[in-house]
């Protein structure tokens, strides 16, 4: 199977985020970056499928130059080659704009399967994979935990709400959005990191891709969330705070 995995580079979840001047994006200067976690699971699923049935795993990612490090990480984990859609304005595009870029890069490859994470950890739109399927004219399924190749196509395990699951059969080519947790993520080996340096990484300028279209949805402003409750923060050492908390839970909240 020829599998394309669309991955996104997002701010590392442990780095604090600050609102940039102008309040329409975050300060990027001092951020650490990481592979979007659901995309890492999509990559894992692709690598497992390749190990079982052979084929090729190609990663595609859109973003500025810094995205190259996340692409190298995917290559080090075992992807065969990569396409980097170079664009500096990914945050200014809506979900359709981002999906257009990816679909344009994916289409000429004629893959059997396109995998991506179900949502990004930064803007969390959770739409890119579904829209890409629509643009590519392919069937799709979302929140997938497990993919099995069958004679007719694919059988996938889809997560539903509140602890329920469902099997879905669909033909290939298809697009699947992958939920976290279906597999254990592998680490890149030293050999893998070494090999990644020699693997093909093709850079395509977003401007060369005919994927224009003005956004219909615009992110106007970013702000700190308003508190839903007034939280009493208990100060002092761990011990002092713990004693104060027990006291409040007993006498004020009356839940002990």
């Amino acid at each position: 199977m020829k599998i394309i995995v669309a991955i996104k580079q997002v701010p590392d979840r442990d780095t604090p985020v600050r609102i940039a001047p102008g309040a329409n994006w975050i300060e990027e200067g001092d951020l650490q970056w990481a592979m979007n976690e659901p995309d890492a699971y999509a990559l894992e699923e692709a690598l497992l499928l390749k190990e079982q049935a052979g084929g090729e795993v190609i990663v595609v990612s859109a973003g500025p130059e810094r995205v190259g490090s996340t692409i190298r990480e995917a290559l080090a984990k075992g992807a065969d080659r990569a396409i980097h859609i170079l664009c500096d304005d990914l945050n200014g595009r809506d979900a359709l704009g981002a999906a257009r870029l990816l679909a344009a890069a994916i289409k000429p490859e004629n893959p059997d399967l396109v995998l991506t994470g179900l949502q990004s950890e930064d803007v969390g739109l959770g739409q890119t994979g579904v829209i890409a399927a629509e643009l590519l004219g392919l069937p799709h399924a979302t929140m997938i935990l497990h993919v099995e190749k069958t004679d007719a196509g694919l059988k996938v395990k889809r997560e539903l709400e509140e602890g329920w699951f469902q099997s879905i059969e669909l033909p290939t080519p298809a697009v699947l959005t992958v939920q976290s947790g279906g597999n254990k993520l592998r680490y890149a080996t030293l050999m893998g990191i070494k090999r990644a340096k020699t693997k093909e990484l093709r850079v395509v300028n977003a401007a060369e891709i005919d994927a224009d279209g003005a956004p219909t949805v615009v992110l106007e402003q970013i702000s700190a969330p308003k508190k839903q409750k007034s939280t009493q923060i208990l100060p002092g050492s761990a011990k002092e705070a713990a004693v104060a908390l027990v006291e409040r839970l007993k006498t004020e909240a009356r839940v002990l």
Binding site: R13, P139, F165, Q166, S167, L170, S180, G181, K229
Partner: protein
């Protein structure tokens, strides 16, 4: 300014999340402008239920191929309905797994983009949704022509009492009901969905627990769970977790709280090392008293917490266990 409200059902009843979407729709237009849509192979009872609500009319979108949800079937049906309806400004959905599966494709088919997982609608209107795992809010505006697609987060919208809530119809009697039959061909539906199943028998009922101690990524390693279990024991609480802990196999899936796990509302919910992503908050924010222990003072869990301790959980949790034991004596 017409509003199309797409209702979702479960076991023959309209889901609660759908009525929260109605509460959101009320921010976009008066009851008379809202058309409620029920979809399926047999929708009579669903339509009758919807007609008792403050909506202008109810449309039954009915076709044998809509008996079971598929993205292809539902997208085609609503697209045709929108073409048939005349000018629609807003299309409102509950932000369920089902809507997430097809609404983005439906919107893009019409050159639009869904504004998903909306937590507030402000004047303009503008739509607020969470960014960066709930650490920031983003305000979005629809700038194109054509309908604007919006899905609203569970628990974010309450019925607007200033317009009479959502429990009685707009006029004296139930809203008028019409039927729309889309043209769908079996070959259009490319996916074959199976019946829903549960992974295994549930042995823990977190839903009825009075106290829950819940643990997240901050715990770092499986062996550290013991410390949190001791706290739960001292409190007489059930142990639960956010998704990453169950993904790692450190606790069974049935102890997961959040949109993909259980929804709980105990008297006391103590969150240890949980940052509070949206998916977790929707599963526990109805708890009576919420306590959060986290090293990051900006973690979104503090937005819903009644009490908070900002600090290293590896110091705070043992101290709290000690304090509870001491208080019992």
């Amino acid at each position: 300014m017409n509003v199309l409200l797409v209702l979702e059902e479960s076991d023959g009843k309209i889901k609660r999340a759908s009525w929260e979407a109605l509460a959101a729709a009320q921010r976009l237009g008066p009851a008379e402008s809202i058309t409620a849509v029920v979809i399926g192979a047999q929708t009579e009872a669903l339509a009758a239920e919807a007609a008792t609500k403050p909506v202008g009319k109810v449309v039954r979108v009915e076709h044998p191929l809509l008996a079971q949800y598929t993205a292809d079937g539902f997208s085609a049906a609503i697209e045709q309905l929108l073409q048939n309806q005349g000018a629609t400004k807003w299309v409102v959905f509950p932000h369920t797994y089902q809507v997430r599966d097809y609404a983005p494709a439906l919107a893009s088919r019409m050159g639009q983009v869904l504004i998903g997982d909306v937590v507030a609608i402000e004047d303009g209107p503008t739509f607020v949704r969470q960014l960066m795992q709930g650490r920031l809010n983003g305000t979005y505006r629809h700038s194109g022509n054509g309908p604007c697609f919006v899905s609203v987060q569970a628990g974010a919208f309450r019925p607007d009492t200033s317009v009479g809530g959502i429990d009685s119809p707009a006029n004296a009697g139930p809203a008028p009901i019409t039927t729309f039959t889309p043209t769908i061909d079996a070959a259009q539906i490319r996916t074959k969905p199976g019946a829903p199943f549960r992974a295994s028998a549930q042995t823990v009922d977190l839903g009825s627990a009075q106290r829950i101690v819940s643990v997240g990524r901050g715990i770092k390693e499986a062996q550290n769970l013991l410390m949190v279990q001791e706290l739960a024991t001292a409190l007489g609480a059930e142990l639960a977790a956010s998704r990453p802990i169950c993904d790692n196999g450190w606790l069974p899936m049935e102890r997961q709280v959040g949109s993909s796990g259980q929804t709980v509302a105990p008297r006391l919910y103590l969150a240890v090392g949980i940052s509070g992503a949206i998916q977790h908050l929707v599963g526990m924010k109805g708890s009576q008293c919420i306590v959060a222990i986290n090293k990051d003072p900006d973690a979104p869990i503090f937005e819903v917490a009644d009490y908070g301790i900002v600090g290293d959980l590896f110091e705070v949790v043992p101290a709290l266990t000690e304090a509870l034991k001491a208080a019992k004596q």
